[in-house]
Amino acid sequence: MNNDEIRASLLKRSRASKNEIFGKVISGICITIIIGVVVSIFYFVASKGLATFFTDKVNLWKFLTGTVWNPSTNDAQGDPQVGALPMIVGSFSVTFLAAIVATPFAIGAAVFMTEISPKLGKRVLQPVIELLVGIPSVVYGFIGLSVVVPFVRRTFGGSGFGILSGTFVLFVMILPTVTSMTVDALNSVPRNYREASLALGATRWQTIYKVVLRASVSGIITAVVFGMSRAFGEALAVQMVIGNAMLLPGNLISPASTLTSVLTMGMGNSVMGSLSNNALWSLALLLLIMPLVFNILIRWIGKRGAMH
């Protein structure tokens, strides 16, 4: 190519640059659509959920700390009885307990998959974990009802319905998510960390415990918190085993309720726009805000992790 041709080609807009604009537009449209969906859901839930406080004039503090949920009747002062505390406590209890039980298992399985036997891990455990995700929550619920609940009843007494059963079911449900994210976290620890440690004469376990796990602490916490926000939003399966009694849970084996279970149960039975319905949407709003809080927690942990 001679000089002029090259100059001309440099000054012309090439196919690649048109293509680049095309790509930017296409992917931009996609992200805009998703943002649109996100914004409209937030708007939708917020507008309905806030109506309880603005239209129906329910006191926010009463809503968060009240212990009686009976939106169709009024209390002694004539205010509607929409106390969400029993559900809030129930939701947090099952979420935290499930996370506490699931974490050691998830870390164990992840360490096995990345450090002990990557081959068995990839061949056996990974498909197993992916399959666990694929089992629908309805099915989890029914297995919980026919296996976990009687088991809890026989072993711990009570009716079998309660936070403990919910914890067991959620444990199995969040295990795959937490495990696979932990695997990612462990995999991102550079190989030479391990080699250096092993070269210094450390055993495999010492290497795992002192080097690999230490280096991936923030990643693991992120995984657990992510699993928790999953557990927080799970509805059908928990609803089947927790008993759905809107009482402050006194122990782990008496019936309790979660935000999602009350929400799912009540939606079809209340009339759109009425207080009972709006109060349910306020619960949905709480459900939306909580993962947001969890998320901020993740970011915060991530930042602290990055500083080390």
Partner: protein, 287 residues
């Protein structure tokens, strides 16, 4: 890759546009939504209707009486199914709604089969559900804690039960389930459990209890000897027309009332010997 991507996107939008053009769709359909108790009945009738009238569809959805009433009020569906009178539901303005009573359903207390108690008075029942009686031995049964299982607030079955049993007394906070199937499963498997359900759902896994020495049978409901029953309503917004009217006539026809409504365990309207108003006034129907 890129071409495939564009093709996919194109296909998607095409699909959306195409399906937006409902006008071009051949065939006709109406949607009935609401009460999950009424759903199997309307569904069965709808299936039969489509067999007799090809190309005319009845979409039947559950979602609960609340959904049914609010959707029919907003006129976003053709028929709203409800276990309750529209007047009973807060937030519903019943003046445009036309009530079609298509069946009657009785509600009976059920207990775990291990419980030997055969009869309860209305007062005893009320005390159980309000939490005043907590052990079966107070009622002549074994020394066993009573496990109360309630239906979700706002459910039609619960409203019926509370209206005719609790009579204004408030129920205690207890386990709640949002579906009869769940209630049945839990009552069947939980020692000392008691709950209530509509007649069609009763099977051999749970035991019914007589109330005030009346057995829960269709016959007793028909003469209002068994008091705990309610109408099943299908509401239309204004007088039904076209396909809706055709279907309403169809579902109230003798064939459907006998072969489907009766067969499924509901009580056909025409078999009722009495009628009961919203306020609870009972009158004998003269043939």
């Amino acid at each position: 890759m890129k071409k495939r991507l564009i093709a996919l996107l194109g296909l998607t939008s095409l699909l959306v546009i195409l399906s937006g053009c409902q006008l071009k769709q051949t065939g006709e359909s109406i949607t009935a939504v609401g009460s999950s108790a009424l759903q199997p009945l309307v569904e069965a009738a709808g299936d039969r209707f489509t067999e007799d009238n090809p190309g005319q569809f009845i979409n039947v959805q559950g979602g609960g009486s609340g959904t049914g009433l609010s959707q029919i009020q907003a006129a976003s569906v053709e028929i709203g199914n409800s276990d309750l009178y529209a007047e009973q539901k807060s937030g519903i303005d019943p003046k445009d709604l036309v009530d079609h009573k298509v069946a009657v359903v009785g509600v009976t207390p059920v207990v775990n089969p291990e419980i030997s108690v055969k009869n309860l008075s209305t007062d005893q029942l009320a005390k159980i559900f309000s939490g005043d009686i907590t052990n079966w031995n107070k009622l002549g049964g074994p020394n066993q804690k009573i496990v109360v299982i309630n239906r979700a607030q706002g459910s039609g079955t619960r409203d019926t039960f509370e209206r005719w049993v609790m009579k204004g007394r408030s129920t205690m906070q207890a386990q709640e389930q949002d579906s009869t199937g769940m209630v049945r499963q839990i009552v069947a498997s939980t020692p000392g459990a008691i709950s209530y359900m509509a007649f069609p759902y009763v099977d051999k896994t749970v035991k019914t209890v007589n109330v005030d020495n009346v057995t829960p049978t269709d016959k007793n409901v028909q003469i209002n000897k068994w008091k705990i029953w309610s109408y099943e309503h299908m509401y239309t917004n204004g007088k039904p027309t076209g396909l809706t009217a055709k279907f309403m006539t169809y579902i109230l026809s003798d064939t459907i009332q006998d072969e489907i409504v009766g067969e499924m365990g509901y009580i056909p309207i025409k078999d009722m010997k009495v009628s009961r108003t919203l306020a609870g006034k009972v009158a004998t129907i003269n043939e």
